[in-house]
Every structure is written in C-alpha cells, then in structure tokens.
Symmetry: C2
DNA sequence: ATGTATGCAAAACATTTGCACCTGG
DNA sequence: CCAGGTGCAAATGTTTTGCATACAT
C-alpha cells in the first residue's frame, strides 16, 4: 500500500498508529480535522491509540510534509493532507465547515506586498470567515 | 482626558484598571501586544492588576470596538487599538514584529471569492509570515 | 537486540470562571 | 448605597512531556 511508502520516505517507522491515523485522514468526510476529531475517529474504529500519540504523529506528519496545520479562530488547530498544492480557506463560523480556494491575483499581490515591505515571505495564510451557503 | 470618553461611550465604568490598560495600549512601543505583554507592562509600572482582569478588560474592549484581537501562529492572541481602519499583517517569524498593510486589489478579490462560493463574509484575516528587513 | 514509538498520567500553557471583597457614580 | 468591577485561586481546554513498556527492523 502506498501509505507505507509515504511513511518510509519520510523516515518514519511504519507503525500501526501512524498507518491508522493516515488512513483516517484519507477517508475523513471533512478534509480539515482537529487532533480531537482524529482521536474520536480512532475510538470509533476501536483502536487503542492515545490522544498524545495523535498529537505526536500529526506533528511528525507536519514536519514530514504529509499534512498541513492551520490555526483558525476556533481555538484548536486543524490538519489536512498536504497534496502539495497551495490554497486558502473559507471557514464557516457556524458549522465550522471549511472550503478551499486559490486565487492567482491575490497570490501575486501578496508576493508584491511582501517585497515592497522588504519582507522575505516564507508563508502566508488567508482565511475568509462567514456563513456558508447552508448556514445563511 | 479622551480615555474616559472612550470608556463611557462603550458603557464601561471608568475604573483604574481599564484606564491603565488603555494607556498601556496607547503608549506601547509595539502596537500589537499579548495579554501577557500588557500584564508585564502593568507590573513594571507597579500596578496591582491581575492577569484575569487584563483578559477580562481586553475582551470587553474588543466587544466595545476599542481593540482588535488577532490569532497569529504564535499560540497566544495579540491585541491592537482599533482605529477603525481595516488592514492586514506582515509578521516576522524571527523577532515577532508586526507590520500592517492594506491592499485594495486583495480586498476586492476576497469579496469576489466569498460571493462566488456563496459565502456571506463577516470577517477575514490575511497574514504574511516571513523575515523582516532587520532579520534577514 | 536495540533504538524508536507508544500509552498513560502529569505538566505546561493560554484563557476563563466562581466568589468574596472593593469601588465608582 | 449597590450594581458592577476586581483579585485570587481554582477550573478549563488544548497541547506537550516524562517515563516505563512494547514494537519494528
């Protein structure tokens, strides 16, 4: 299975917790999940994996470039599989659902703004908060 | 003094802690400060104000539109006086210094992106992370 | 075998809250 | 005087860590 390769390539031992967590991230209905979400999903599938391990594994995955971590307003961090493509987020303040978008014009202007300020941009995050279609 | 008016207009009693905290926000070298920063500044000026009060007052100030609260990557929230004008942020990942900017083209595109997705935008935050001039 | 991962419980943070006391209008 | 504000300590919610045990290679 391709998951093993993913992990090995990242220099991580192929362990059951890591595989399970990776599977959950791949099969989650919502692409953007919190550590707690992952933990609950593990419990639901009768896995004996501690919350501490979930945090440790997600942190390792982030360092390995397997997932991306975001800090929305909610207080807890959310993770999503990193498919390599950059995008920004629309976050519903009612149902917490997250949609992704990507706008070349904005990306370009950001780069220009950073340059103009003498900043060496390493990263950026743009989140639009509001009510999604269903919550209005 | 204009601070009293600020507070009264917000329906807040003019108390010593509130005045002191407002003064600190106005006189801070760095416009963007954490609750802890404010608390330390109070200690430095020999004020007997608890950290809980700092949080309470800052939260009230936010509700009253006196300050804005931001969640950068750092884990703690930072506050800045709200002068009414919207702007986004350039955050130095080394020295934590924050610069402000505002770009009409980006603002406009954001609005369009939200509309296109059927989102009713209530708020948005754009943060560019990187190394500031001095830290490169 | 052996170095790395894990589970559990405890610690560490940032922030909030309950409650008795104090204070501004 | 008295509603509202404050200080302190304890509670909360999230994330991290120490350590003895279990597991992958």
């Amino acid at each position: 299975m391709t998951d093993n390769i993913h992990l090995k390539k990242a220099g991580l031992k192929v362990t059951l917790p890591r595989l399970k967590i990776l599977t959950i991230l791949e099969q989650a209905k919502e692409r953007h999940v919190s550590a707690e979400d992952v933990y609950r999903a593990l419990l639901a599938s009768k896995e004996e994996i501690g919350l501490a391990t979930v945090y440790r594994v997600l942190t390792q995955f982030e360092a390995a470039g397997i997932v991306k971590k975001h800090h929305f307003e909610s207080g807890q961090s959310v993770f999503e599989l990193d498919d390599g493509g950059h995008h920004d987020h629309l976050v519903c303040i009612q149902c917490s659902q997250v949609e992704e978008f990507m706008d070349q014009a904005i990306e370009k202007r950001q780069q220009e703004v950073a340059e103009q300020a003498g900043f060496l941009m390493t990263d950026h995050s743009l989140n639009i908060y509001g009510l999604c279609k269903r919550c209005q």
